[in-house]
Point group: C2
Chain length 583, copies 2
């Protein structure tokens, strides 16, 4: 087996394999690389010794059985007995389901989560979007502190566990998308600086030195992340990747890293003969993110549309703190704008940023499915002081309205696990840092952050308390109970409608027509022959349909058919989907 | 007269005008602005008092009669008696002449430089590109340390002096381009931070905190620089601006500042009814810089092509230090590449940067005149240890070859003042900082920088020594003397050829055909029916023309016509331009 590692500044590098040391030679062609040949098999422990010292894990380690700071283990990907052939699933027509392995079940493993896949198949979603699964110190965490970007967190089940999960998903006809973090590594356990210039002081990020995408040595750093992306897609048979916070990728080169990445993924898609896609998280409201490379774009296949979320959230809750402020001034109008123009901030002033923000999307060239629409995500729940979901404060009727807006709206819908039954479990910020200093810094940091916004420090859950993670686990007894079952049935009904009615997956954003009444708090949007009507207000609403040949296709609660004059009456906090009468 | 100033964090602002204080009111509409009405006329001294303290110069001051830190003076632009109507001159077909007012003549004024414009008109150039003219502390300097981006350096002649210069240029049929600096302000005398968030710590630049183009308050900072650009073009009747080091404009917004700027300049061009252009200095080798906005570009009209310079410089001198290293490996081939592909680094490895650099230009969509071609600039001369020109080390024959490559090449040619006669005066790094600490820091900083490259510190000219600036002034007795007259005549002949032969201003870069011999050190390029042949070697060269119906249109020294078999013989360090025989 060939062992290779990039360590351009090292004087000498050795492989330590199952206790035996093998000196490595400089690679004859690839500058800065070292290599050696050694007999090894799946599971063998190894590490690299750089200029003496203790053996460090392989930067491209696929498995860290003893945690991110321990030795790596050889993984022979070809050995896995895949059972279910997979042709891939496209993003157009998709419904995504964001899932955190560590809290989807009490066990917090791939296998335990796989046992819930039948529920997802029945719900009707098309893809599971896994939150990050790369190793981080400790057992529990959100996963954005990963430090081994090629490996799989051992407590979740390691590489084999992920493969079993993906294979099980395929058995249910579900695709899998993985959240990957290229913009930083976690604050503890990062061994990369010992190997090479993976980070640069040229740019600063919220997490310290930036990943080196444009300073000396950056060719290999780009290759490191780019090849990891390709490896995830091919070795684990994934359909796509979610790219965390791409706005934090500091990159001044003429060929942006993200454009290189999207090109490589498109090539791989052709090679593998199945669709592959990249979904960016971006706070830039920049159409260039998803614009085709040929027209000067980065060529990413989709991006999260936070503006749609913010408009929806303020319309539902009336909240106006932080970045919600601009949306909260006229939330129904903001929602109408994001339903038809994608971004609320498309060159408008952002009081949160103290400047103009965003840019108008060219709707004639950008299909609707390139944007994800959602009412809740791990961030929008977990970054709240108490990690409370919408279900903690909204009536089931308003949850139903949120579902109608997301699931019949123009954008690729995404649900956060449990949202489909209005789960009452919170999803809080939890960590499990073994380093006591870091643990304390995170604990007090979070309390202080929210104290600054008027919270009592003692009300903020302690991220390091095991109860915080436990509290955040889904309660799988919930969905069968009371209003949860009704909320779940509503989600199933809407997803089924999206699957069977082509109007609902029409890519033409410009064809979406919206009417709304800010004061009465109702909104109606039309997609082809279908109309979605939501009444977010506390009073019954009369919505003028403008035509009298509509029938009710789905309604959260019993409603009368539209009047002959086209007037449609909706109870408070309720919603319906209307279609043409068959006549 | 209305006095307005942006001071968003101020509690109170007052205008001090000719010794009288006028309290200012918050602007009724424009947030953060203050205004007052006061009777004033051209020349009146004024300043703004922010939260008490001494009156500071107006950030948008047009004139600083007592230096950048003194009071501002009212300038009434409409009063200037322009004599020579000006319809503008396009960049296509242009030949630029970079000129530094402070060293063009011993006097160092606009008026003294204007007296030399007849020489430029006779030379045949179309535009003077003035190095920065904004006020900086002290009398002499390169100008990149300016701190009043809307005003004109008083020792040069102030706003009226610049207008007289431009009017005189127009009288000679010459356009004027101005070098403006948006990426930083000088280290001394910068009063802007007292008014508002003009700078941000979010990004770092070689000059400290970055100009704030994307942090809170950046809308007004963008407007400040954007409106200054428009003011230069309209108030002073300029044809274009050269934008200093655009790669140092840290800007993450979806709508880049440079795209806003190019849009505004194109709009102004329509309003004024004359062509206007922006020329970027950029080290990014990024085709997006000059690509049209509609195809995702920044829409700038041109950029300096440093790669062409570096290839030419290494081919002429054999130097290989710093960024010349990659070019020096096969300099004639590098020159051939830049003549046909624009950038040498178009996705190739840059050893100077330790990474891949640049991107291929789409020649089918990018006219040749969007790139400037030059053998010398203020930077490439002045940033050398001794500020020595090519003429200090090269034979007149090699200077003639450089001229042939620049003036018959595909790119918009630019000469640095004096280059046309092979001036022997150096152009050194000189400053005149009144602040003794800064003066000493600059002096020792420069000496140490070059000591690190093997120079003896005492050999490095002292930037603060008045003799350094004096040494850098052109000697206007030179051009009439000896080989200088011959070099000058050669430049005139080539520029005349460029004007009269449409092949030489053909925008199609892909049509340029090059043949070269690395070992023999000759190169020939064809543009339509014309061929430019240069022999940079120390031996006579035989260049196979591949056809036998060529005649010599211009030759640096007497040559025989091409042989019947198409062989053309060139003496060492010599060059010629060939055209078709009339038959």
């Amino acid at each position: 087996m060939l062992f290779e590692v990039w360590a351009p500044q090292a004087d000498r590098v050795a492989l330590q394999l199952e206790g035996t040391t093998h000196d490595m030679e400089p690679h004859p062609v690839r500058t800065g690389w070292w290599l050696t040949e050694a007999g090894a098999q799946d599971g063998d422990r190894y590490g690299y010794v750089v200029n003496g010292g203790r053996p460090l894990p392989d930067p491209r380690s696929r498995r860290q059985p003893d945690g991110p700071e321990g030795l790596s283990a050889v993984v022979v990907h070809d050995d896995f007995p895949w059972q279910h052939p997979w042709a891939g699933r496209r993003l157009s027509g998709a419904v995504l389901y964001e899932l955190h392995i560590g809290t989807c079940t009490d066990e917090g493993t791939f296998d335990a989560a796989a046992a819930r896949l039948a529920h997802l198949a029945e719900l009707g979603v098309t893809h599971v979007e896994l939150m990050p699964v790369c190793p981080f110190p400790g057992r529990h965490g959100w996963g954005y502190d990963g430090v081994a970007p090629w490996a799989v967190h051992e407590p979740y089940g390691g590489p084999e566990g992920l493969k079993r999960f993906v294979d099980a998903a395929h058995a249910h006809g579900l695709g899998v998308v993985l959240d990957v973090v290229h913009n930083h590594l976690g604050p503890s356990g990062n061994q990369l600086p010992a190997f090479g210039p993976y980070f640069t002081d040229t740019h600063h990020t919220p997490w310290g030195a930036a990943v080196n995408l444009d300073a000396p040595g950056s060719d290999e750093v780009r290759a490191y992340f780019l090849e990891s992306a390709l490896a995830w897609l091919s070795d684990y048979r994934l359909d796509g990747l979610r790219l965390d916070a791409v706005h934090a990728l500091a990159d001044t080169r003429a060929l942006p890293f993200l454009e290189e990445l999207s090109t490589a993924v498109d090539v791989l898609s052709v090679q593998l003969g199945r669709p592959l896609f990249l979904i960016a998280e971006s706070d830039q409201c920049d159409p260039r993110t998803t614009a085709p490379r040929a027209s000067g774009g980065l060529g990413l296949h989709a991006q999260w549309n936070d503006d749609f979320h913010h408009a929806l959230h303020t319309a539902l809750t009336g909240e106006s703190q932080g970045y919600y402020a601009d949306f909260a001034r006229a939330p129904i109008a903001a929602l109408a704008k994001t339903l038809t123009r994608v971004f609320f901030h498309d060159g408008t002033y952002s009081s949160f940023r103290g400047r103009t923000h965003g840019r108008r999307v060219d709707r004639s060239r950008t299909p609707a499915h390139r944007f994800l629409g959602y009412a809740q995500t791990h961030d929008q729940i977990g970054n709240r002081a108490l990690g409370d979901r919408l279900s903690a404060t909204l009536s089931p009727g308003l949850l139903a309205c949120a579902a109608a807006l997301v699931l019949t709206g123009p954008y690729t819908p995404m649900l956060f696990m449990g949202e489909e039954w209005g789960a009452r479990t919170p999803w809080q910020y939890f960590t499990d840092h073994p380093d006591p200093e870091l643990a304390e810094a995170v604990r007090t940091g979070r309390r202080r952050e929210f104290a600054a916004h008027g919270w009592a420090e003692e009300d903020i859950p302690d991220p390091q308390d095991p109860a915080t993670r436990a509290r955040s686990c889904l309660d799988w007894d919930e969905p069968a109970k009371g209003h949860h079952a009704r909320v779940l049935a509503w989600h199933r009904q809407l997803i089924a409608l999206r699957r069977t009615r082509p109007d609902l997956t029409d890519p033409d954003i410009a064809a979406v027509k919206v009417v709304h009444d800010e004061e009465a708090r109702w909104l109606m949007f039309r997609r082809g022959d279908l109309r979605t009507v939501v009444n977010l207000g506390k009073e019954p609403a009369m919505i003028p349909l403008g035509r009298n040949n509509c029938q009710v296709l789905a309604a959260w609660e019993p409603v009368r058919p539209p009047q002959p004059d086209g007037a449609f009456h909706l109870p408070p906090e309720s919603c319906a989907v209307l279609g043409p009468t068959s006549a």
